[in-house]
């Protein structure tokens, strides 16, 4: 496929995509509402500025009215158990100053600083001393930047020891053009990115280490995280995968089935952050190769054909949608194999990969009444013969696939039986399968 062919195919793929008939009216309503909110915010800001100037707490150095909005946090004394450690606070400020022009935030937007940096929090963590440095900035709109990247906001940076070189540096930073909508700032850092630190004004945070398969459902266990001095900390166990972590701000504890990320705090992963070399190579070095099965576009039905979109939807809802998306990328859904069992149950097998973790196979049973059961079918070994194997519960057999190969099988007492090509549903008592000329033990 060359560039001209790609151009044609992109136009083909997007052809027929049309906005809803009331789209223009909805945009106009939304735009007017935003303008009204903006005017009210500017008016409120002016009042706030007068108050701050009168109190002497904030020096006005800019003529841009919206840039004069003060973040009240920068006038508060440093919090945390290292708040009185001047040497560490100065080291944290110096680390911020060193990275200010090369940080991911600086590379993603143009801004001018308002006043100096402020150490909002300095404290001990399992990954060593850490500090949250705040810097008020005035976002400067560029001709092609997003329309809302304008006005005052606060860059938040986490300064900690980089396990890669032992140096104190900015290991994560972030900003939002709409700080009022932010739930907080958080990062996963330290050895293995297993230390989670969150700065938040929220009072009730719930933490989940990862997704577990329990009673054939993908679930999460939740625990409340205490917020002390405006900061919450969690240390992951050595065997935990940082990509699976979810922290949400909710009024009540989520249930185990609640694996969604609504009201979730965005946690920057230091390993990903460190890979940000320039604005366009974000994550390039980190971008992991897919380790799942490379059968894109293969949707194999064994026996009666299944409804592809319904299988897609149900698998997404019960498997993809519940598993962590990874800190940078995820793969999955580019192939599956499905078989309809005698009782009408549809068995589905596909694989999922998040970040650089090994791809895993997940089996899904869609019962005739619509209920579902999820099964872990193991890590993918893409180079192995018959790499997709799922032993169905209840002696229903083996759902197997090896795209492009002929498949046969034998039982303990019988001879080789032809099972077709690409994918098959083998009897439960099959003890060996043959893929091409290669014999594969089952069980």
């Amino acid at each position: 496929m060359n560039p001209a062919e790609l151009s044609t195919r992109l136009h083909d793929a997007a052809a027929g995509v049309e906005p809803a008939p009331d789209f223009a009216a909805a945009v106009l309503r939304g735009g007017q509402a935003r303008r009204q909110r903006r005017r009210l915010a500017v008016a409120a800001s002016a009042v706030a500025v007068v108050a701050l100037v009168a109190s002497g707490a904030f020096a006005l150095t800019r003529d841009h009215q919206e840039a004069q909005v003060g973040d009240p946090r920068v006038t508060q004394p440093t919090r945390g158990d290292l708040a009185g450690d001047d040497t560490f606070r100065q080291a944290a400020i110096a680390a911020w100053q060193r990275s200010r022009t090369t940080s991911a935030s600086a590379l993603n937007a143009k801004y001018e600083t308002i006043g100096g940096p402020h150490v909002y929090w300095a404290g001990s963590t399992p990954a060593g001393p850490a500090a949250i440095v705040l810097q008020q900035v005035d976002l400067r709109p560029e001709p092609d930047s997003a329309p809302d990247w304008e006005g005052a906001t606060t860059v938040e940076a986490l300064v900690a020891t980089d396990p890669a070189d032992g140096q104190l540096k900015v290991v994560a930073d972030d900003w939002s053009p709409h700080p009022e909508q932010q739930l907080g700032f958080g990062a996963k850092f330290g050895p293995g990115d297993r230390t989670v630190l969150i700065e938040t004004s929220e009072q009730t945070l719930f933490f989940s280490e990862g997704v577990e398969l329990r009673n054939h459902r993908l679930v999460r266990d939740w625990q409340q995280v205490p917020v002390l001095d405006g900061v919450a900390q969690v240390q992951l166990p050595a065997d935990a995968d940082p990509a699976g972590v979810l922290v949400v701000a909710r009024e009540t504890k989520p249930g185990p089935e609640d694996t969604k990320s609504s009201n979730a705090l965005l946690l920057t992963r230091a390993a990903v952050y460190r890979s940000m070399g320039s604005s366009l190579t974000i994550g390039e070095d980190f971008y992991p190769p897919p380790t799942g099965l490379r059968w894109p576009g293969r949707y194999l039905s064994v026996g009666d054909p299944v409804d592809q979109r319904e299988v897609d939807r149900t698998y997404t809802e019960n498997v993809f949608g519940k598993l962590p998306t990874g800190d940078w990328c995820s793969f999955g859904g580019s192939w599956w194999v499905a078989a309809t069992l005698p009782d009408g149950t549809i068995a589905v097998l596909s694989d999922v990969q998040a970040d650089a973790n090994p791809a895993r196979l997940y089996g899904l049973l869609i019962r005739p009444d619509g209920s579902t059961e999820v099964y872990d079918a193991g890590e993918v070994d893409a180079g192995a013969p018959l790499p997709a194997r799922f032993r169905l519960p209840g002696g229903e057999g083996w759902l197997v696939a090896d795209d492009g190969k002929t498949i046969s099988y034998r039982t303990e007492t019988g001879g080789w039986q032809d099972a077709g090509s690409n994918a098959a549903l083998l009897p439960d008592d099959a003890v060996e399968a043959k893929v091409g000329d290669t014999t594969v033990p089952l069980g």
Partner: protein, 167 residues
């Protein structure tokens, strides 16, 4: 430009911008509509201050907003089933429809900024210099990202789609 100009612009140009957004979002129709609506709503208060033609400005804003969706507070699940807004309108072209779905799936497997380079360069037909300006990088980076993006896209596409000759 007046409010009427803005309304006219949205009425007449939203379909084209939505197609760009659709590809930038890897074929996620709902995300594309959300993205475009948000970018247009935010452009509305600043409409009079946009210098030059608004469409290149909005296209660049769309690309940046899509490429920076990792900033958004709650990230969408990156793998979603493909849903077309309407049934295929070209009877007899079912295989082509399947191929297009595969292309969208493969697009979804690219890092967002690499995807943005391909969409701006090969769908919106922007020059390397314009893409570089829009995404805030050098033309050389656009060139290398285009090349690597095409190569990765080929890896992610099924053989029958990769090898289908252009009509």
């Amino acid at each position: 430009m007046s409010e009427a100009d803005f309304t006219d612009f949205v009425t007449y140009r939203a379909p084209a911008l939505l197609r760009t957004a659709f590809l930038l979002c890897g074929g996620d129709r709902g995300a594309a509509e959300d993205l475009l609506q948000e970018v247009l709503e935010r452009a509305y208060p600043r409409w009079r201050r946009i210098r030059g033609k608004p469409e290149p400005y909005l296209r660049a804003a769309l690309a940046n907003a899509a490429a920076n969706r990792w900033r958004s507070r709650s990230r969408r699940v990156s793998e979603v089933p493909l849903e077309r807004a309407s049934p295929p309108t070209r009877p007899g072209h079912e295989q082509q429809i399947v191929d297009e779905d595969e292309l969208l799936r493969a697009l979804r497997g690219l890092p967002p900024r690499m995807r943005a380079v391909l969409v701006l360069r090969f769908f919106d037909d922007m020059s390397e210099a314009d893409v570089a300006k829009a995404l805030g990088c050098s033309a050389g980076t656009v060139k290398s990202q285009s090349s690597r993006g095409l190569a990765r896209l080929r890896e992610l596409l099924p053989d029958h789609v990769r090898e289908r000759s252009t009509p």
